[in-house]
């Protein structure tokens, strides 16, 4: 069932190892969209990591002498209604987006992974009950669940992460469970049980490593969704709060109010969100194509 990456790589690899450039070229030709996505993701990560060096201004510094300035040599992407540099806020905003995206995707995905595998492993009544609980959680549309959680815990970056993590758990658990169900009947699990290993050990050491493919696919898909959700919550005024630079927040208030006189306030942050999520989605699709054995033959 589980593919062996080393074996597949050995089959794919030509006799002589080509240079890195040649391998990249081949990857680009095989997965043009995925490579593009990866490029966007890398740029975003670099921007977030080196924000203090890349950013031309302090993202939270008001400059009332330079309000609503159009894009130009001084401010490449213009300034907002408080005279804050948009480029600086977008570069620092990548930090917020990536932190929320990665942390909630990792937590949500990992909790879902363990719960899903455990549900499949124990089976029976536990599985049935667990499935009903997941049904209940899945009955909430993503943003509705996140909004409900925010209404309880309040706003701020930590609570946004919690609000986004919770709806991810059942989604990952369900997918992982269905892969783990097939695993349960394979003899090596019986063998592990016969050796007298504990449930925890069988779940974590024997089953979890074999459902890594769906787990990774789900996580890469979650990062983009989480960035989008964070932007939506912040836009609604229920996410990250001022003066933290966040893309969704930048579209709130001023963006609509001054749409006519200063359209750049509305255009650039939205472009950043779209590009970022676009990159993660393209990359996620490529990861799925590479990892899903059912799709590989196509």
């Amino acid at each position: 069932m589980a593919s062996n990456p080393a074996y597949d790589a050995a089959l794919d690899a030509p006799a002589e190892k080509p240079s890195l450039g040649a391998r990249l070229l081949r990857l680009m030709r095989k997965q043009p969209l995925g490579t593009g996505g990866l490029l966007i993701v890398v740029i975003m990560v670099l921007a977030a990591a080196f924000a203090p060096w890349l950013s031309p201004y302090d993202p939270t510094a008001n400059d009332f002498a330079a309000m609503h300035e159009a894009p130009g040599a001084e401010h490449w992407l213009g300034t907002d209604q408080f005279g804050r540099d948009l480029l600086a806020r977008i570069i620092y905003g990548a930090r917020t987006a990536l932190v929320v995206g990665f942390v909630s995707a990792l937590f949500g995905g990992t909790i879902g992974l363990v719960l899903g595998v455990a549900s499949a492993y124990f089976g029976g009544r536990f599985d049935l009950f667990f499935q009903r609980v997941m049904d209940v959680f899945m009955a909430f549309p993503l943003i509705i669940m996140a909004l409900a959680v925010v209404s309880i815990f309040g706003t701020g970056i930590q609570n946004v992460i919690i609000a986004i993590t919770i709806p991810f758990v059942p989604r990952c658990a369900r997918v992982v469970r269905s892969s783990a169900l097939a695993l349960r009947d394979i003899p090596f699990i019986d063998a592990a049980r016969a050796m007298g290993y504990s449930h925890t050990r069988i779940i974590l050491r024997h089953m979890v490593p074999n459902v890594m493919a769906p787990y990774l696919i789900m996580i890469t898909a979650f990062v983009g969704q989480a960035i989008l959700l964070e932007a939506s919550l912040s836009y609604l005024g229920l996410g990250v709060q001022e003066p933290t630079p966040a893309w969704g927040l930048m579209l709130q208030g001023g963006a609509e109010e001054y749409a006519e006189s200063a359209p750049w306030i509305a255009v650039f942050p939205g472009l950043a969100i779209t590009l970022g999520v676009f990159g993660f989605n393209l990359f996620g699709d490529a990861v799925r194509d590479a990892l899903d054995p059912k799709l590989r033959s196509q």
């Binding site: 609980v133 009955a139 590009l275």
Partner: protein, 337 residues
């Protein structure tokens, strides 16, 4: 012959059993959602009364707090309150809004029509985009047309619908300014479509497009993959072998058979539209259910949040049920067990 007839006779009964089973399964899900929402709301430290008091000033009056709690029935045992909530939900009586003091049913009723209309129009937009684009993309698999359509549909998922909304408003302002000399904005006051259709459409078509584009993205991808699968089927090869025109193969054989999963996705996504409406209604300043939801969260109007979550969950669960039942009705090859 005889066996076939028997089987055909047995099918309706199996279907009835299946529908009954699915119907019975709806109750635990809905009850679970009610439990979750109710007790989550009670997790919050403090209650509405304390929030109100904190909002009115520095002085904290114990007496006033008690009176307020008694008025809203918050001093009763939790299980009594829960029973009240469930009974209210079963009879569509959610009580009064904690913010406006008006019955929640009235508040929802006021806005339901608008949100439903936007949802239906968004669905139509999505279908009109998804089916032709998905079909072309599948026929021209791995060409630049295919890549273009796929990029367009992934962009639809990546683009926040509120940003698309802002861009649409911006575009309208700029183009009307350039062509007619005065900037035009979609009207804000809602009028029903049968009262003033032109006015109504000029107001709601924009949010429908903003929501529908995102919605179409998922359906486009589904159409493409379903179409790709059907194009590999034997009967398509047979049709090609007998020299049928490619146009007819696509239209009569391939498209019809690939629509089923698309219908499913459209149905499921319809239930998710409520989530999309939350942000779109905010951008276009529409007085719909989504805006009501955001307001109830910002105003700490727990009764209202609770009621709206239950409405959304109920719509979602029922839509899923209908989609599942429709599935078998649309495809006679599917047997119910």
């Amino acid at each position: 012959m005889v066996a076939g007839a028997c089987e055909r006779k047995a099918q309706p009964r199996a279907m009835a059993q299946y529908i009954l089973k699915r119907l019975l399964l709806l109750f635990p899900t809905l009850l679970g959602a009610a439990v979750l929402v109710f007790f989550l709301m009670r997790l919050i430290p403090g209650d509405v009364c304390e929030l109100r008091m904190a909002g009115t000033g520095a002085y904290f009056d114990e007496e006033a707090l008690k009176i307020c709690q008694a008025e809203l029935g918050l001093n009763r045992p939790v299980m009594v309150q829960f029973w009240e909530f469930i009974r209210g939900y079963a009879t569509f009586n959610f009580g009064d809004s904690m913010y406006t003091g008006r019955p929640i049913v009235d508040e929802i009723g006021l806005r339901f029509e608008l949100s439903l209309q936007v949802a239906i129009m968004a669905t139509i937009t999505a279908i009109l985009l998804a089916i032709p684009l998905g079909t072309i993309s599948a026929i021209k698999q791995n060409t630049w047309i295919d890549y273009g359509v796929r990029a367009f549909s992934i962009a639809g998922i990546a683009m926040p619908s509120f940003w698309l909304g802002i861009l649409i408003i911006l575009g309208l302002l700029i183009t009307t300014q350039a062509w007619f000399g005065t900037a035009w904005m979609p009207p804000i006051q809602y009028k029903a479509i049968w009262v003033d259709p032109v006015y109504n459409l000029s107001m709601l078509i924009w949010p429908a497009v903003a929501t529908g584009y995102r919605y179409s993205a998922v359906a486009t991808r589904m159409t493409r993959s379903a179409m790709l699968e059907v194009l590999r089927e034997d009967y398509v090869r047979t049709a090609r072998a007998k020299g049928l025109l490619e146009k007819l193969i696509i239209r009569r054989h391939a498209l019809k058979n690939s629509l089923l999963p698309v219908v499913t996705v459209i149905g499921i996504e319809f239930a998710f539209l409520m989530g999309g409406l939350v942000v779109t209604e905010q951008v276009f300043n529409l007085n719909g259910l989504g805006k009501l939801f955001v307001e109830s969260v910002t105003n700490f109007d727990y009764n209202m949040t609770q009621a709206l979550v239950m409405v959304v969950v109920t719509v979602f669960v029922l839509t899923n049920f209908v989609v599942d039942v429709m599935y078998g009705w649309l495809d006679p090859r599917i047997h119910y067990r």
